[in-house]
Point group: C2
Amino acid sequence: MTDKELRVSKIRDGTVIDHVTAGQALNVLAILGIDGSGGESVSIGMNVPSDKVGYKDVVKVEGRELSQSEVDVLSLIAPEATINIIRDFEVAEKNRVEQTDTVRGILVCPNHNCITNADEPVRTEFEVLGDGVRCAYCDTIIREGDVAEHIDARGSGETAL
Amino acid sequence: MTDKELRVSKIRDGTVIDHVTAGQALNVLAILGIDGSGGESVSIGMNVPSDKVGYKDVVKVEGRELSQSEVDVLSLIAPEATINIIRDFEVAEKNRVEQTDTVRGILVCPNHNCITNADEPVRTEFEVLGDGVRCAYCDTIIREGDVAEHIDARGSGETAL
C-alpha cells in the first residue's frame, strides 16, 4: 500500500492500533480515556477498506506508547486489533491484544442497584467470560455484543491477569 | 502543504469539515449523528498543527454531502469551521458554518424536571443566545462552554432560522 492510499498518514512516534473491528474506533478512544481534551494528536480512520478483513478502523495516537495492560482491555471490543509501537516512523514493537481475565474501572454495571452505582468509593470489576463479562459484585452479566454500550466514557481503567 | 504532511488523506467525494476547534472532533461526530455504526467511511484528525489557528481538528466524511442546515448546528461548538464539499478530489463548494437562531433535537436539557425529559413526545428546542442557549420550554440556560456536555449522543437533529 502506498502512502497516497493511506487514509490516515504515518506518525513519527506513538502507537498505531490497527485492524480494529469496523465501527469501534470511538469505543477504543473511550476505553483509552482519549477525547481530544488532553491535547493528544490523534488520527482515526473508520470503515477503511482492508485486504485482510473487509473493513476496519485504525487509531493512531502520537507521542504516547500504550502499555500491554492498556491495550488488553481492547480485547473486549476489538479482539483482532494489532498494536504497533512507532519510533522515528519505524515499527519498533508489534503486539496483539490479549484476552484479559478481569476488567477494572472501564465498564459501568447495568444493574442500578449494584453497589458500584451507589455513590460509594467502589470501582467496577468484571470477570471476563467466553461470551461476555460478569460483575464481581452483583453477578450481572453483560453479553459480548452489549459491552460497548456500557463503557464508562469518563475515565480509563486497568486490567489484571 | 504537501500530501505527505496531511494527517488525514484526501477523499474522492464527500465533506471536509476543517478548522474545527481543537478537541471538538468527537462532538462534531455526535452532532452529526455519526458513530461508525452506519458504515460511513470517516477520517478524523485531532489536535493537528495549523498555520492559521495553532491547533485544530479535521473531520472528513466520505460519500456524504452535508447540507447547510446540518453544518450550522456545528456553530455551537466549532464557530470557525469551514465546510468543503468534495467531488472527484476537487473542492466543489466552500462554505462556513453560520450562527443559528434555534437548535432542535440536538441538545438535552439539564433540567431533569423539564417536559423534554419526561418521556413525552416533545423534542428539545433551544434559543441561541450570544453566550449560550436557552431551553424554549423551561428557560434553563446552558452556557457556551458547557454546550458540548449536553449533546444528545443518540441522534441527529436540525436547525431552524
